[in-house]
């Protein structure tokens, strides 16, 4: 197969802006790919508001944002990892560990800000170790983080012998996970802030560009002199840190640390990342897709709740939506690359 437009002579472009027919078509296709998900999301919202009048109430919407925020924060970290062609299966365990440590530390009368900092650092350290093992010893991240999934969960149980932790938690700390500014949940704002920051990191910093380069072709990135192993270690550290943040926020909302929390979180996060159009083999995608995908999955769950459909039914619908969205994405992308 050949593309007719590949042999256009380079036009002198003093302003750096030459007419680019093929590129603008390509961009158009990219936008369709991106908006495809947004369109599905909006359509789902319309359907939801028609089927369940309660859907469009501020109360419901702010609940929805609060519920999706924690998964969303973890999914943002997961997006970075998957962009480097890695995978992080340990996020649920790291989140639970983060939630437990913050509760235990606060229980010991340590300032809650310091407790949060320690918790996040522990999460980042776990991530860095797993990512570093994978980067420096060429172990598959699937395996190192699978070991983390089991090992860190066990460690979490060991902290209190499986009992929930905490209880006497300062009000200021509770606001973080459970508070609202007007109708807007603070966790929702944190989710948005994390997503925006990750988006800026990816598009606006050299580190972000290296993430794409490593994910697109690790070998070529290495032979270009890029710090490939550092980049991989760093994204896992970020993912671990964000997971711990999700754990901290959950502890804040529940006012206790739950060692059993967040089991299966990794699959929800991966589902959102892939639904958001990030390529599982790395190099392509971004945070905005993940953001919309997280909301979409929440709306779906919310709609099922409002309509009184059981959780079994919800799971089936979620699975179906995932498959349909992925097929649609693939078809549109194929079309786009042919143009």
């Amino acid at each position: 197969m050949s593309t007719s437009t590949t042999v256009a002579e380079p036009k002198p472009a003093p302003g750096g802006r030459s007419p680019r027919t093929s590129s603008s078509r390509r961009r158009g296709a990219d936008l369709v790919v991106r908006f495809n998900l947004v369109l599905v999301f909006l359509a789902l919202c319309v359907v939801a508001s028609l089927l369940a009048p309660e859907f469009l109430t501020t109360r419901n919407l702010s609940n929805l944002l609060q519920q999706s925020a924690l998964t969303g924060i973890v999914a943002v970290g997961m997006t970075l990892v998957i962009l480097t062609a890695g995978i992080d299966l340990s996020v649920g365990s790291v989140a639970a560990f983060g939630g437990m440590t913050v509760a235990l530390l606060i229980d010991k009368d340590i300032n809650f800000l310091l407790a949060i900092a320690v918790s996040l650092a522990a999460g980042a350290l776990f991530g860095a170790v797993m990512g570093g093992l994978s980067a420096y010893l060429s172990l598959p991240a699937f395996m190192t983080t699978l070991a983390g999934l089991t090992g860190i969960r066990g460690l979490t149980y060991l902290l209190t012998d499986g009992e929930p932790a905490g209880g006497d938690i300062p009000h200021a700390f509770q606001l973080l996970g459970g508070g609202f500014i007007g109708y807007v949940p603070i966790v929702g704002l944190i989710f948005v802030a994390v997503a925006v920051a990750a988006g800026l990191l990816l598009r606006g910093t050299t580190f972000g560009e290296y993430i794409y380069a490593v994910g697109s072709n690790k070998e070529a990135a290495r032979l270009s002199g890029l710090p490939v192993r550092g980049v991989i270690t760093a994204v896992f550290a970020i993912s671990g840190c964000l997971s711990a943040l999700a754990g901290v926020l959950l502890t804040s909302r529940l006012t206790i640390g739950q060692p059993t929390a967040f089991s299966g979180l990794e699959l929800d996060a991966i589902a959102a990342v892939v639904l958001g159009g990030t390529n599982l083999f790395g190099g392509r995608g971004g945070v905005m897709g993940t953001f919309v995908a997280v909301l979409l999955l929440s709306v779906l769950r919310n709609l099922c709740n409002l309509m009184g459909l059981g959780s079994f039914f919800q799971m089936v619908v979620t699975g179906l939506i995932l498959v349909v969205a992925l097929v649609l994405n693939m078809l549109i992308e194929k079309r786009g690359s042919r143009a």
Binding site: M1, S2, T3, S4, T5, T6, V7, A8, E9, P10, G16, S18, R20, T21, S22, S23, R26, R27, R203, G204, T205, T206, F207, G208, E209, Y210, Y212, A213, S216, N217, E219, A220, A221, R222, L223, S224, G225, L226, P227, N279, G283, R284, S337
Partner: protein, 519 residues
């Protein structure tokens, strides 16, 4: 094994061509890939198919294999018109295509690969002994002497190639298409494949051989069809044709190759001093110097250590390296360290090692240039830095945003080069087989750019298995043999045959500079 297995000359009368493709037209959206292409192959001949990249060779072969349906034209096999609707139909008609990327399953054994999909069996139970016998016969037929129980992954490339050929033959092939086998083979392995080709044609089978390398074509081919712009422009009897005539047919106009002989030779002490590079069992190199502005060629058979030397210099393979740049000792323990020291590598495989195929041209060309404060806005910075470089190299893309994977081979290789020019500060350029798979025009273009860099004071180390490219483009040529540098030649005073002799035998002739002598 089928009874038609030995397709002898008896199956076709001598005046009936084994294969005739006539008036083949194939249109893709926006391009006319084949525009009345003709190909006539006689029984028992090796027919070379030549043409620059994009001339329509691949399309024509895919039509022959049954992968594409032609828009017009007919295909006759031994005088019988055939319609090939699928690769299976092509195989059934006796057409076997051995692609450049061998389509073997690496973890299966030779026997499993050879009889994949048609293993002898009782119901679902494979008759292993019979399968091994069939496989052994097939391997023997192509002159292989490796065990059929070896996993293909563990075989040398030449044996893998033979396995692929053997598999094509189990399917009772009358016409065997070989797509650039030399792209993956070293010189000595190529000999083995050539022997097999000769024994195949002696059995009356026909071989269509696609290659960019003129010396191979002249050696193995009986006749050649040259394609240009989707048409067959010449059919030549190779016994009475020179390589220059073929090249002229291919490019359709005379194009100038930059010859080093016209240039003044750089003088002075070397910029890059390779005192020793050692890796037990692999290489033992000592005393190669490259001056600023000099292009030093590395010649040698496959496995002679050219790639290993370049990788070692680039910090990409464990080796004991003693190297100085401009008098300062270098510690090269990683590619990143080498890059910081001012080294740049254009690796052997541009797709796997050189480029990020999912990223745009501009992002690829600038990825090396972003590691500088304030570490912000890489895409804007990259676009600004790479734009003049891409223009200067004449990279043809529809826009800097085009995915680099969609460019032609020559343009992709230029983007790999652009990566280093955009970075700036390159003092030593290491090139490993930079023209592999490029057409004649793209090769000349690439070497012009390399020469241009050398003229700006870069020391260039150029490894190539095409000696003629080295003699045309290098100021000096070091011959590596079995991991050692055995002799250094001046291509202005030494003819190619002498150098080729050393490449094959490793013996230092009189007149060459032996290692250790001041260069």
């Amino acid at each position: 094994m089928s009874p038609h297995d030995t397709a002898g000359p008896a199956t076709g009368r001598d005046d009936t061509p084994r294969l005739a493709m006539r008036g083949i037209v194939k249109r893709f959206p926006g391009t006319l890939a084949n525009d009345g292409a003709e190909l006539v192959v006689r029984p028992g001949e090796t027919h070379c198919l030549l043409g620059e990249n994009g001339a329509g060779k691949s399309t024509l072969m895919k039509i022959l294999a049954g992968s594409y349906r032609p828009d017009a034209g007919e295909i006759l096999l031994d005088g019988e018109p055939v319609t090939l609707t699928s690769p299976q139909a092509g195989l059934a008609a006796g057409i076997a295509v051995i692609y450049q990327e061998l389509d073997l399953v690496p973890d299966l054994t030779v026997a499993q690969n050879l009889l994949l999909g048609h293993a002898p069996s009782w119901g679902p139970v494979v008759r292993r002994r019979q399968r091994a016998e069939l496989a052994r016969a097939a391997v023997a037929r192509v002159g292989g002497d490796f065990s059929v129980h070896t996993p293909v992954r563990d075989l040398p490339i030449a044996a893998q190639q033979l396995t692929a050929i053997a598999r094509a033959l189990t399917a009772d092939a009358r016409v065997i298409v070989m797509d650039e086998p030399s792209a993956t083979l070293g010189e000595s392995d190529l000999r083995t494949v050539f022997q097999v080709i000769r024994s195949l044609t002696a059995q009356g089978r026909s071989v269509i051989y696609i290659s960019h390398r003129m010396d191979e074509v002249m050696e193995i081919g009986d006749r050649a069809t040259v394609m240009r712009d989707g048409r067959s422009v010449a059919v030549r009897d190779l016994a009475t044709t020179t390589a220059d005539e073929l090249v002229a047919d291919m490019i359709g106009e005379s194009r100038e190759l930059v010859r080093t002989t016209d240039r003044p030779r750089p003088e002075g002490r070397p910029l890059l001093e390779i005192r020793s590079v050692r890796s037990p069992g692999l290489i033992d190199i000592a005393g190669i110097g490259v001056r600023a502005g000099e292009v030093v060629g590395l010649a040698g058979l496959g496995g002679a250590g050219r790639t290993t030397l370049l990788k070692a210099l680039f910090g990409d393979t464990p080796a004991t390296v003693s190297v100085a740049l401009d008098g300062t000792d270098l510690r090269l323990n990683s590619p990143a360290a080498a890059v910081r020291a001012g080294l740049a590598l254009v690796p052997e495989s541009r797709k796997e090692q050189g480029l990020m195929p999912g990223l745009s041209v501009a992002r690829n060309a600038a990825v090396t240039a972003l590691g500088r404060p304030p570490w912000l806005f890489p895409r804007r910075l990259g676009r600004r830095l790479s734009a003049p470089v891409l223009t200067g190299l004449g990279v043809r893309s529809s826009s800097p945003d085009q995915l680099v994977g969609k460019l032609s081979g020559g343009n992709q290789q230029k983007v790999v080069l652009a990566k280093w020019i955009t970075k700036g500060g390159v003092r030593v350029l290491l090139l490993d087989e930079p023209t592999r798979g490029l057409d004649v025009g793209a090769k000349a273009d690439l070497y012009r750019q390399v020469r241009h860099l050398a003229d700006q004071g870069v020391a260039v180390l150029l490894a190539s298995s095409e000696l003629s490219e080295l003699t045309a483009n290098a100021d000096r040529i070091w011959v590596l043999h079995e991991g050692r540098n055995v002799a250094c030649f001046d291509p202005r005073t030494t003819d190619e045959t002498t150098i080729a002799h050393t490449v094959i035998t490793g013996a230092t002739p009189t007149g060459a500079t032996p290692p250790g002598a001041p260069s």
